[in-house]
Symmetry: C2
Subunit: 295 residues, 2 copies
């Protein structure tokens, strides 16, 4: 028997388009307000806006809102976490695109930040976006913002995202196995996706049992999302520009086995949100989205 | 009449060598413990240690400890603030030395971080040190760590240190006045020095009147410190390597007037710590150190 409940299985993501569009609009508004209140030099300010506003799927912010709402938190308690995690994500992309890293000239069809503003300003805009993420959380409405700050820092730092980025520098030359690839991705992209779920859960005051299930849900969604990124790169014949070829799931496992691994992780994510009953349907849809998407 | 109290005037910094050596040893220990508990990839971990351990005057950490102790806080409540501000300072130096910024090959007589570890790892080590600063504060012992995080973020980010670094990119070409130079330095180096004082004050639970006086003390010490940096650069014939000549206080005012401005700021700092009575003598000595030093 499939671990998908009939309800979840019959609810493809488009049923939840309205919620997701609302999350995207809301985090855009919150990010705009947070950036507007800065008194930064003009070019730094422009580069920060350029890097963080007006683009992206907002998967991470959506996970904060969807998780928090599943636990009946008011949206105002979720805004800081949603904006903070998108700022961390945006800063990591700006630094990842720099010439000493991936050396990417484009990001989401536009010139990358350093192509638009120069390397020095892009470096500093990334730095300031990271700072702004923690400032946003500290200024947030949730009574749990101190554990939220600790959680986001652990996910974003040397043990999490930045650690994964560092491992990724050597991934092309290291003899890679699925285990080492999975460890790298669980840090590089997985940690922040998992943190998004837990930020929503913490802001909502989730109890330890619920937070443990959410943590496993987030881990599975993060990894499934990354595996499908690799699969989609092959399908669209668009491997990452710059640098030597990198180890990927389809490269190590084949496309079919990689896709099967992503689906299995999606199913495990769904089992873990079952604890939320009907309140978990948007989270179920987001897990589906991680594997059933074309971009 | 001089605004220096006879006691402070007769207490050159060396009387406080023991306290300052104790602060330096203590923050080194706290930084080592915080870095040891990370499970970062080897090269990232090594680069982070290289950037933050075993060097520097530790002015910022000393200001945290000296301020907190002046207000009778236990040292254990001050450790997180002292370590966090040194991590922020270290990350800013790593990024400032990168080729797209100042392009400095040396730092404190050693190869700069990117010369020792490569640009990509240095960039990421700086990123992870910033994250670690906020994680350290969030994990700290002080009951006031939430306002401390907000304070440090405002001082380190787009409105503060990173804003000042951005303005500094154009400082060589902008027609500089003392006012624009002072605004740039009050952000670039002043904000973090002032924040160090206030982190100690907040951790100690200082009342608003004391915090206001400490804030002004910190502002004056930060600016005096920077002016004397410029003066010492001329005296040692060692202007910063790389890039075009920058506007400096001695360049705009002449050496004598720059030194006089630093001394006047030191005096204003001393007036503001007078509120602490005898408990403020170490802070007085640190203000003196900002202007009476040879490195």
């Amino acid at each position: 028997m499939s671990p998908l409940s009939p309800k979840t299985a019959n609810n493809p993501l488009k049923v939840h388009d309205a919620e997701l569009a609302r999350y995207r609009a809301r985090v855009e508004h919150v990010l705009t307000l947070r950036l507007d209140h800065l008194k930064a030099p003009r070019d730094l300010h422009d580069a920060m806006r350029y890097a963080v506003l007006g683009g992206g799927k907002r998967l991470r912010a959506s996970l904060v809102y969807a998780t928090g709402e599943a636990l009946q938190a008011p949206e105002s308690d979720l805004d800081a976490g949603a904006a903070a995690v998108e700022m961390i994500h945006a800063y990591s992309l700006v630094h990842d695109d720099l010439p000493c890293m991936d050396d990417d000239d484009e990001r989401r069809g536009k010139p990358s930040c350093h192509k638009a503003f120069g390397e020095a300003v892009a470096l500093l805009a990334g730095d300031a976006l990271q700072t702004a993420a923690f400032e946003t959380l500290a200024d947030g409405a949730s009574a749990r913002r101190l554990p939220m700050i600790a959680l986001l820092a652990r996910a974003a730092g040397a043990d999490g995202m930045v650690g994964g980025q560092t491992t990724d520098l050597h991934a092309a030359t290291d003899a890679s196995t699925v285990a080492t690839l999975e460890d790298m991705h669980s840090r590089k992209t997985g940690a922040l996706i998992q943190a998004s779920v837990l930020l929503g859960g913490l802001a909502a005051g989730g109890d330890p049992g619920v937070l443990a299930a959410l943590s496993e849900y987030g881990r599975c969604v993060g990894l499934a999302f990354q595996i499908m990124d690799d699969v989609l790169d092959i399908a669209t014949d668009a491997p990452k520009a710059g640098g030597p070829a990198r180890a990927t799931y389809p490269g190590l496992l084949g496309v079919d086995a990689a896709r099967a691994r992503a689906i299995s992780l999606r199913d495990r994510a769904l089992v873990n949100v079952a604890i939320l009953g009907d309140n978990g349907t948007v989270l179920g849809a987001l897990a589906d989205f991680a594997v059933n998407r074309n971009h």
